[in-house]
């Protein structure tokens, strides 16, 4: 294909050419950054929490009338009993928070009581002997808590557990050379002996600012005596919906002086996950919507402008056809012309995309754009350009040679 005459012709449409190239460049810059954001959010949406979400319920309970600590301990024990008796309930325990719960306690973990030398921050889960079985956590080393190890903690009291269970990731971080079992770690001024290691358990926070230590969870053998408590309920297979209705009624029947929010007091983990990642899902949808609109508009713009050029050049096309150019020659002329413009556009667009990404990184702490997204964007836009130009180019190729003899 002769590129020279195409370039010569383009020089006559300098402004139009530049505008299409600019549009392709801007579209590429935005679309590949949007794709990048979408992908990052989708990855987060499906981030495993380490627990058996499909068969778990969470109940947020608040005591009314300000019971004392002793009273609360017996109220909680009574509730756990009540819940255990609900048909379809397999297991239950009381805690402060849960994965995807987006709230809870974080403490520094160190090799010595000196807080300044903490190795990392760890998400703290209150647990009892039923926690592992309820959550479906896999103990990869060591043992579970014993009932006699479970302590009680007043509001604003301080945790100083004798024993803890930690995640495999935290164990590997703290004791890279040897087994963590039997070793002391410090989350308070007192040593806590690691008695068990679980495979995976994410910290309660889903926000990216907590991502650095999202795998470093610690289970401590405590029941927290606060007016607000979360019950995690493991349900027999296939009974989630029935049990969701039963537990609320059973708890209120046992004791009226409590608040279980009618809206979100009892939630399945599917609901918890949906709420936790609502923003991310929304952002992914928004970015997808904008990308689709952008591509449509750019595609339609190319169709529109090329159609005009074809209309403008009917006479020239006729002359070329009369001089022996085949239909295929005309078709490939317009396809090549578009390819040249699009390549110019994506080169500029690649630079813009990286620039936009750098700016987003600086302003909003986004990650660096992976080259794959840029490549995907380039391919998409080149294909879009060729696809968009096809219809007008075909129309051009059907211009009869006799057109050469007609005046405008």
């Amino acid at each position: 294909m002769q590129i020279k005459p195409i370039l010569a012709a383009l020089r006559h449409h300098k402004a139009g050419t530049l505008l299409i190239a600019a549009q392709i460049a801007l579209t590429l810059a935005i679309v590949c950054n949007a794709l990048f954001i979408i992908h990052a959010r989708l990855v987060r949406l499906h981030q495993p929490s380490g627990i058996d979400e499909a068969s778990l319920l969470v109940i947020g309970n608040q005591w009314a009338g300000k019971p004392g600590s002793d009273q609360m301990a017996s109220l909680m024990a009574a509730d756990l009993d009540t819940l255990r008796k609900v048909p379809g309930v397999a297991n239950v325990y009381a805690t402060n928070t849960f994965p995807l719960g987006n709230g809870g306690m974080a403490l520094g973990v160190s090799h010595s009581p000196d807080k300044l030398k903490s190795v990392t921050t760890s998400g703290i889960y209150f647990a009892d002997e039923n926690a592992l079985a309820t959550l479906g956590l896999k103990l990869v080393e060591g043992r579970n808590f014993r009932p006699d190890e479970i302590g009680q903690l007043d509001r604003q009291g301080y945790v100083k557990p004798d024993v803890v269970i930690i995640t495999r990731a935290l164990a590997a971080l703290m004791f890279p050379q040897r087994s963590a079992i039997g070793q002391p770690i410090y989350i308070s001024a007192k040593p806590s002996i690691v008695i068990g290691i679980v495979d995976e358990l994410r910290t309660p926070w889903v926000d990216t600012s907590f991502a650095k230590w999202a795998d470093y969870s610690t289970l401590i053998p405590y029941r927290e005596l606060t007016p607000i408590v979360q019950y995690i309920v493991r349900v027999q297979p296939g009974q989630l919906d029935e049990v969701m209705h039963r537990v609320r009624a059973a708890l209120y029947a046992a004791n009226r002086l409590r608040v279980i929010s009618p809206k979100d007091g009892v939630r399945s983990f599917a609901q918890v996950r949906e709420q936790a990642y609502r923003d991310d899902r929304g952002m992914a949808i928004l970015m997808s919507g904008i990308s689709v609109i952008l591509l449509l508009i750019t595609g339609a713009g190319i169709v529109g402008l090329t159609s005009f050029w074809v209309g403008q050049r009917r006479k020239q096309i006729g002359v070329r056809r009369a001089l022996g150019a085949t239909r295929h020659d005309i078709l490939s002329y317009f396809l090549t012309e578009n390819l040249l413009i699009a390549v110019g556009g994506v080169v500029l667009g690649g630079v813009l995309a990286i620039g936009l990404n750098l700016w987003l990184m600086k302003q909003f702490e986004l990650d660096r754009l992976a080259p794959g997204y840029l490549l995907a964007g380039v391919v998409t836009l080149l294909l879009l350009g060729q696809g968009a130009v096809l219809a007008p180019a075909l129309r051009a190729s059907r211009v009869p040679p006799v057109e050469a003899t007609r005046s405008i």
Binding site: Q62, R155, Y158, V259, G282, S307
Partner: protein
């Protein structure tokens, strides 16, 4: 003449309906996407108390020193909340016009009707000066007195919604409410007060929350009866003794603080006072570092707390990018459209039309495209704002509104943007050489 140009423009646009529709749709989508994201951005970056925000300040005191900054934050900012000791000291010194320490509470209210379940409410423990400082609008009654602050009186200010729930919305001043098992006398009812962002406590609310401010009770009373803090507690070291009292003696930060200062001079004086206070603490051996305080006004404070979510900003940037692409698109199409009419322009020019007339004619054509795109964009914006709750957090999406201002802005942006896009094509059209065009026919 104007009517004639409009007529010409409409004829020209009708001649190529597909292209016209494409331009209008591009403008409409570009404008709608930008305006929808802008309406969200405007809602979250708005000034919750514009008449007073320049006089409200948030003091920060560094009670942690170097050990508080070990977690990577390089800006050496003191903690964004206050510990009990310093908050009480600042309240006692009383150097501002109004000041209030506050903390988030979440008590339960037992309705008098025994058949109803107790309800869980949200609110803050505050000082009496909180109400005049924040200009909280009272429907009935008023705040409590400073004497009641020190007496730890069992009084409560209810917000409209909870008053509706408990007393059917009537004037409940003087009636009693059972909060956490104790009777409180209602002294005032607010008129559904819900500033966005929740400027007096962004640390615990993040600015936007679906939670309610239902009740306000005196700070010292809440401390006295040990009403627990429902907000964040941040500690740089483990408190020496346990319990709520231990928390009060610790350097853990969990209290928000706000002051009202009349002018820059008062702010400078208050800054001076804070530094003096920190020096005194150093002398007393509590701090071992130079004073490191901040006194930010409300705008600076909301900024430093990143109240505007970054997703909202990214969305706005991307949507504006979409608008720019739509404009480039429109410019290209207008250029093609206008230049195709070179012969028509040639004839008009040859018959004596000045360049200005060509300008007017084609800019009017662009403006008509813009206006039509704007009207369609308005419709799409309306749809966008109503469906934004589908993709954005509820507490933010519910703030986006289509009001008269946004309506006019949408139309204005559409028309101005399209005319800008039409500027270069029009310029090219006006440069058409009449002689050349006439000859070539």
């Amino acid at each position: 003449m104007l009517g004639y140009y409009v007529d010409l423009a409409v004829r020209s646009l009708k001649r190529s309906p597909g292209l016209t529709a494409l331009m209008i749709l591009a403008i409409a989508f570009g404008v709608a996407a930008s305006m929808t994201s802008y309406s969200v951005f405007r809602a979250v970056s708005g000034d919750p108390i514009p008449w007073k925000s320049a006089h409200l300040y948030v003091p920060q005191i560094d009670m942690w020193g170097q050990k508080g900054h070990r977690d990577g934050s390089s800006n050496n900012d003191p903690p964004d909340a206050m510990d009990y000791l310093d908050a009480i000291a600042l309240m006692r010194d009383h150097r501002a016009k109004y000041q209030s320490a506050m903390y988030a509470i979440s008590p339960s209210i037992v309705p008098p009707d025994a058949s109803k379940h107790p309800i869980n409410v949200g609110g803050h423990a505050v000082y009496s000066e909180f109400f005049p400082m924040t200009d909280a609008p009272f429907k009935y009654g008023s705040g409590w007195s400073s004497a009641e602050d020190t007496q730890r009186a069992a009084v409560v200010v209810l917000n409209g919604e909870i008053n509706q729930k408990l007393f059917g919305g009537g004037n409940s001043v003087g009636k009693t409410v059972n909060i956490d098992g104790k009777d409180y006398r209602v002294v005032g009812v607010l008129d559904n007060w819900s500033p966005k962002p929740v400027f007096f406590d962004v640390v615990n609310t993040g600015g936007f929350t679906t939670g309610h401010e239902d009740v306000f009770i005196p700070f010292l009373r809440a401390i006295d009866i040990g009403m627990p803090n429902n907000g964040n507690t941040n500690c740089s070291e483990i408190p020496k003794s346990s319990g709520f009292v231990g928390l009060q003696q610790s350097t853990c930060v969990w209290i928000s603080f706000m002051v009202e200062l009349d002018d820059k001079a008062a702010a400078a004086a208050y800054r001076e006072y804070l530094d003096g206070y920190a020096r005194d603490q150093k002398q007393a051996g509590r701090f071992s570092w130079a004073p490191n305080n901040r006194l930010r006004d409300l705008h600076e404070w909301l900024d430093s707390e990143h109240v505007v979510p970054s997703d909202t900003q990214i969305s706005l940037v991307v949507a504006l990018g979409l608008l720019v692409v739509c404009l480039v698109n429109t410019a290209g199409l207008l250029l093609a459209k206008f230049l195709r009419r070179s012969s028509e322009i040639g004839v008009r020019r040859a018959l004596g039309a000045p360049r200005m007339a060509i300008y007017t004619q084609f800019l009017i054509e662009a403006a008509i495209v813009g206006l039509t795109g704007g009207v369609l964009g308005l419709l799409l914006t309306w749809i966008g704002i109503h469906s934004v709750s589908w993709v954005l957090p509820k507490e933010i999406a519910s703030l986006a509104r289509l009001d008269i201002g946004l309506l006019l802005l949408t139309l204005l942006v559409a028309v101005v943007a399209t005319m800008l896009a039409g500027l270069y094509p029009t310029f090219r059209a006006s440069r058409v050489q009449p002689a050349l065009q006439l000859k070539s026919n």
